[in-house]
């Protein structure tokens, strides 16, 4: 499982952001001209509970080095209860991924509200740094995506 890190390698990080909070937070970060790493790709989802745990495994399979799931703070969900299910789901999923050998930093979940532009910037910057330190992910990856 050794990997040659090519020069200039940048991690691919997929951030699932809920339409009502985190995506708006990211938007606000943009409006305020905040700088955050380019290697984070934002995927807008209607609710953090839209993120099927299988999206996460598929992301690793298809070449992501880290995955982030973000949604509204508990109590703020646009659909009232969605993020409570997200919380349970990923609480177990994270442990299962670790059990299967994925580094805990490669999969993270966060609550970020629509007004927390700075928190969005800080979170993705930090995650990006952590993933850079870990290097490219080879676990679960399909050969042709490496």
């Amino acid at each position: 499982m050794s990997v040659n890190i090519k020069e200039g390698w940048e991690p691919k990080i997929l951030a699932f952001c809920c339409n009502w909070c985190t995506y708006t937070g990211a938007d606000l970060a943009g409006l305020n001209r905040m700088k955050y790493p380019e290697n984070v790709r934002v995927a807008r989802v209607p609710c953090s509970s839209r993120v099927n745990p299988q999206f996460v495994i598929r992301a690793f399979q298809k070449g992501c080095d880290g995955v982030l799931v973000c949604g509204c703070h508990p109590g703020d969900c646009h659909y009232v209860t969605g993020n409570y299910f997200t919380r349970r789901r990923f609480m177990l999923m994270k442990k299962l991924l670790e059990y299967n050998g994925i580094d805990p930093n490669r999969f993270q979940a966060r609550w970020i509200s629509g007004s927390e532009a700075a928190k969005f910037r800080d979170t993705v910057t930090r995650v990006s740094e952590q993933i850079k330190e870990l290097g490219p992910n080879v676990k679960f990856r399909e050969g042709r995506w490496s």
């Binding site: 177990l92 442990k95 994925i102 399909e142």
Partner: protein, 277 residues
């Protein structure tokens, strides 16, 4: 022939004669001394085909799904694990209790490894018990998971990678599992493309992880998935990991018991921990 076997045959004969059930699912002998296979007895003249011995290991509950839309009762011989499988299917709204007649068989003689960690040797639900209840044993269900957790992340990854590299995706582990009772499985939805058809380790791992997650909070720990796997992949070691976490986070948790407890992933509380976030 043993006493219980005789009693079982008499019971089934009686149930068929008075039309309580249309047929009974049990086990019968094969040409191999150490193997039995499921038997479907609808004629009271055939009841002598039924056997009860330490080789009666296949799970029978899932065959009842074929009768989901039929009228009248069918009989099923249930050991502890079969009865929990029936509970699972009833709780998942796949079967109606009133369409089943359960013939309970306490079980204390099986020689499979998986049975060493069994905590319900007596059926948890039944209509009629054949034989005497046996003593339940204490077992540490999560000892193996603990050993796995003690390994490093890379060691665990290599362990699962080498195991899943053998998987031939026969889906036997899915087909036998009482918790896998969806009418259409994600793995068969080719056009949606959840699961690639390529035979490579990455795809097998995706299958393995997804299967685990889909059944993890409803697994009754019957061990059938491991028994049927032709490639000897210890698949229950995955679901047991999820159950261990659930036990640690939400208190004692066992599935397939008639206690009306909902699967943990189907509900939430406001106070759930989010320290992982």
């Amino acid at each position: 022939m043993n006493d219980i076997e005789t009693k079982l045959r008499e019971t089934v004969k009686r149930l068929l004669a008075d039309h309580t059930v249309r047929y009974v699912i049990g086990w019968e002998a094969t040409r191999f001394e150490d193997k039995t296979r499921p038997a479907f007895i609808s004629d009271s003249a055939d009841t002598d085909r039924l056997v009860w011995n330490k080789y009666c290991v296949s799970s029978l509950a899932k065959y009842a799904l074929d009768e989901q839309h039929s009228e009248g009762k069918i009989g099923i011989c249930v050991r502890g694990c079969d009865s929990r499988a029936v509970c699972r299917l009833i709780e998942d709204k796949q079967l109606l209790r009133e369409n089943l007649y359960l013939i309970g068989l306490p079980c204390d003689d099986k020689e499979m490894n998986i049975c060493d960690t069994c905590t319900h040797r007596n059926p948890v639900i039944y209509d009629e018990l054949v034989g005497e209840p046996v003593l339940e044993r204490q077992a540490d269900r999560f000892a193996m998971v603990g050993l796995m957790e003690a390994m490093s992340a890379d060691e665990r990854y290599s362990f699962w990678e080498s195991n899943y590299s053998k998987c031939i995706r026969c889906y036997a582990c899915r087909n036998i599992c009482p918790a896998c009772n969806c009418r259409a499985c994600y793995a068969d939805q080719e056009r949606v493309g959840w699961q690639g058809k390529q035979m490579n380790t990455a795809q097998n791992q995706i299958y393995g992880l997804t299967r685990t997650y889909h059944v993890g909070d409803r697994c009754i720990e019957c061990g059938e998935c491991e028994r049927v796997c032709p490639m000897m992949i210890p698949v229950m070691l995955q679901t047991r990991k999820m159950l261990k976490d659930i036990n640690e986070m939400f208190g004692d948790y066992e599935c397939g018991l008639p206690d009306g407890r909902a699967p943990v992933l189907g509900e939430y509380t406001l106070g759930d921990a989010d320290d992982f976030m």
